[in-house]
Amino acid sequence: MKRVVVAAALASLATAPLWVGGTYYVNIASQILIAAIFALGINVLVGYAGLVTLGHAGLFGIAAYAGARLMNHGHGHVVVAAGALAVTLVGAAVFAALALRGEGLGFVMITVALGQIVWGVAYRWISITNGDNGISVSGRPSPLGLSLASAANFYWATFVVFLAAVASMAIFVASPFGASVRGTRDQPRRMNALGYHVWMIRFLAFLFSGFWSGVAGLLYIYYNQFVGPQVVALTASAEALLMVISGGAATLLGPIAGAMLVVIVKNVASAYIERWNFVLGAIFVAIVVFMPEGLVPGTVRRWRGAMAALRPRAAPAAPAPGGGGR
């Protein structure tokens, strides 16, 4: 059942430009994918490592700004991508080293501080970031000679990157390292006692998370052809965090669902409803009340409940399996 759903979802995503109806909507779809990649990256920390972050927009922004500046210096796209991601990884390493000094709320607040510092630089250090006016670029890469100028082509390129992100997450989750990360989330003391280097595990998870935030930032600058300080604002980090939580942290599909929810409400609903912030907030509150574990796990749970209720009553329940060795 699950495979059918996933396959159908992938198929519809892959063919989106053909059925969404218009360039505007194809662009929204691209935005959803970019947001999804960003959210997936954040979920590595929030969902799997148990470390809440409100500063990842800083890393997203570092990639976007670095990419923009490299592009405007005339570098080829390979250099742009490699350079932007390298800078972002360095940023992530710095963020991680500082944030891991704190626990719980301390960790969150250090990420807030770091994000705000990046925002402060983006807003005020005009010589590097052009401040409020932002940086414009022109041009998208042409991988294998294919132009990405059209909305549909850009969408498909983004979709390929998105698939890579999802695949990397799936591999990570199933791997021994992924199990280590989840272990540090659940019982850090026990993990230490089992011989795991908890700090290093978290640090590496942060780098992995930062990498995908950087990829999302890079895609963003190619998509938008412009980057400004609002990309790095606290609200951007908060929105991304909300995508992860509302969709379901520590799941593969959750961040994707959350990204879809937020982007659609922001862009599409806002065309019809003036007070769409209220709607978004109300949806979040509703999710917490009815599906606190998130949209994806909540929906799965209700679906299973519905299926179980529909199944015909079996014979009286068999006795529960006996307890161990008594």
Binding site: V46, V52, L98, R101, G102, E103, G104, L105, G106, V108, M109, I110, V112, A113, L114, Q116, I117, W119, G120, V121, Y123, R124, W125, I126, L234, T235, A238, L241, L242, I245, S246, A249, R275, N277, F278, L280, G281, A282, I283, F284, V285, I287, V288, V289, P292
Partner: protein, 288 residues
């Protein structure tokens, strides 16, 4: 920088510090006692200001409006706590999601009811103009805010340190499970503390009105500052909130004036430094 500018900035810092104390003391209590990161706190502040503006418009005097506004915000907070937050004990992520969601909703409701134009609240007539302290003229109202903040700090300290209620709160902060065993009605206590925190925030929003005005986005500007204060000072510590508030007030005002390019960096860098060196904040307890 000349002397008079320094004095002006100093007074403004004290004022902002005072407002921040009222705002963050509530947040710190709520987070310290209930472990809830109440991200709706900025909304309480803004809501207090808006409601008071309307009350004053209908003829209520400034101070009554401030008290009443606080009460209404407290009531709203109480409803939120009882209906929603109570069921989410320990579910940190859900708390973040719901309090942020509520803040979105409150922000839009305020936008609908009061529109997008900033609303000025007039300084109460008794405190208009300047007073002379040691031969120097200071705006009376700004000084008054500083005094009010200190008075509240003293009152809160007395509450926590000297009363039975305060002892229960402190017990709840230190060891909630034990507190329950000893018979402390923890859930009632929680609601009470949450309402108290909300009242403080709403009240602060009103008395901050003459200085900051009330406008959309005020909630999002004040909340990070309150968070910085709580982190700097250490959550659950009243002294920490007091000291932290004034530090942030000074950093914010002097930072803006001296380094306009690095305004935010000046604010967050010290916080970063403190956190890196002393993760529990200046006065916080060592992480358990």
């Amino acid at each position: 920088m000349d002397m008079s500018l320094t004095l002006v900035l100093a007074v403004n810092s004290l004022t902002l510090g005072g407002l921040l104390f009222l705002l963050s003391a509530g947040f710190s209590l709520i987070f310290g006692l209930m472990k809830i990161p109440n991200l709706t706190h900025g909304s309480f502040f803004m809501l207090g200001g808006y409601v008071a503006a309307s009350l004053i418009g209908w003829g209520v005097d400034f101070w009554s409006a401030a008290l009443l506004s606080g009460l209404l915000v407290a009531a709203f907070g109480g409803i939120v706590e009882r209906l929603i937050l109570r069921r989410l004990a320990g579910a940190e992520l859900a708390q973040v999601l719901v309090t942020l969601g509520l803040s979105f909703m409150v922000a839009d409701v305020c936008l609908t009811v009061w529109t997008g134009d900033p609303i000025r609240i007039d300084t109460p007539s008794a405190l208009r103009g300047a007073t002379s302290v040691l031969g120097v003229a200071f705006p009376a109202y700004r000084l008054a805010i500083g005094v009010i903040a200190v008075l509240f700090a003293a009152a809160l300290w007395a509450l926590l340190d000297q009363t039975r209620l305060g002892a229960m709160i402190r017990a709840g902060v230190d060891d909630p499970a034990m507190a329950r065993v000893v018979g402390i009605r923890v859930s009632r206590l929680f609601t009470l503390v949450f309402c108290l925190g909300a009242w403080l925030a709403g009240f602060a929003g009103v008395i901050g009105g003459p200085i900051l005005s009330v406008y959309p986005g005020l909630d999002q500007e004040m909340l990070p500052l309150a968070l910085v204060v709580v982190i700097l000072g250490g959550s659950g510590s009243l002294l920490g909130s007091l000291v932290g508030s004034f530090i942030v007030g000074f950093l914010y005002n002097f930072g803006q004036a001296l380094f306009p390019e690095l305004a935010y960096v000046v604010l967050f860098l010290p916080m970063l430094v403190v956190l890196v060196l002393r993760p529990q904040g200046l006065f916080g307890r060592q992480a358990g």
